[in-house]
Symmetry: C2
Amino acid sequence: MKRIEVIQNVLEANETIANRNRQLLDKHKVFAINIMSAPGAGKTSLILRILKSLKGKLNIAIIEGDVASTVDAEKVQSEAKAVVQINTRNMPESCSLMAAMIESALKDMPLDDIDLLLIENVGNLICPSEFTLGEHKRVVISSLPEGDDKPTKYPLIFIDADAVVINKIDLLPHVDFDIAAFLHSIAGLNPKAKVFQLSCKTGEGIERWCSWILEQTKNNTTRQ
Amino acid sequence: MKRIEVIQNVLEANETIANRNRQLLDKHKVFAINIMSAPGAGKTSLILRILKSLKGKLNIAIIEGDVASTVDAEKVQSEAKAVVQINTRNMPESCSLMAAMIESALKDMPLDDIDLLLIENVGNLICPSEFTLGEHKRVVISSLPEGDDKPTKYPLIFIDADAVVINKIDLLPHVDFDIAAFLHSIAGLNPKAKVFQLSCKTGEGIERWCSWILEQTKNNTTRQ
């Protein structure tokens, strides 16, 4: 099974680099969050909300992962301390960020001026679950129009998440989504995950979510 | 660059098996459509609409691709001539169906009794663009809540599509989606793609879409 051996090697190499990234981030007291979701669930919108809400409280940098285009980096650049765009299109794994890409991006970041690094992963519920990046927390966004069965169909990404964000709750009257069923699935897969219900569009639930981010970031800085 | 060589080998092996699948399907006059989208865009709902709309006109079989679970196969099984579920969770490529999985599934199908085979790929806008399965047509679904920038961010899957379905148009009053901008992106990437605007929920646009499926299937049978 040569193919599987090769994948194993890739995962091990990724883990080594991820550990190196984490050490570098810790040395500079940067708290890093890996934000994952399906395409269009609201990763960029959530980052924009965090930037706005925590302005003046934290210095925030962004790494934008995308197969192609720089549209997300352009959206966030006016509010962030630093933004690095990674396009995965011609890379061996185009369906996820990998630790080596983050290592390279960190070289372009003024790490001593940053408290919080938000990493927007490639829009995908499968590949990003395989690759740790050196982040401190992993967040998965699931949006109402995707349906409440996503934890059942893509369990791995939810099992490893520190927090699950249910976005687009403003659409509840217009889509079939059973919040209780979704919460039940999450509780079964990963009872320790914090769950936030919010709408990046209306702002509902954003305050509680951003308080959690702030608290996590401050706890991290104090710990070191 | 050993890793890239290995990927190249996998793609070549996949292409060989895909050609074999196509020959088998052609021999039995089965027309096959590969349906791809992000998680939750409506692949299963679209298949259910096709099954209902073309009942009595075509004998339809389904291959359901999923990382885990059989929820979609259960939804479609009462209406289809045959259903085979493929779970990719422990396979070398879990983020897409591959031709070898289809080859294996076809062994369990009564091919002489089938006119149309609908293949629901894994919910993903990246990996499935790399693997041809032996299908005759490739369809990508993009749903309104995902946003109108998906062709710009995930171009490969749209470039190779024979048809693009814009689903959930019933949500237009509730989400920010510029249909003209989306159509403009598609025209730039793939001017030959047929575009359908519809709602699996309300049924709007389904008749035109199913007429196209019927026409394509019948053309295929006549051709042989």
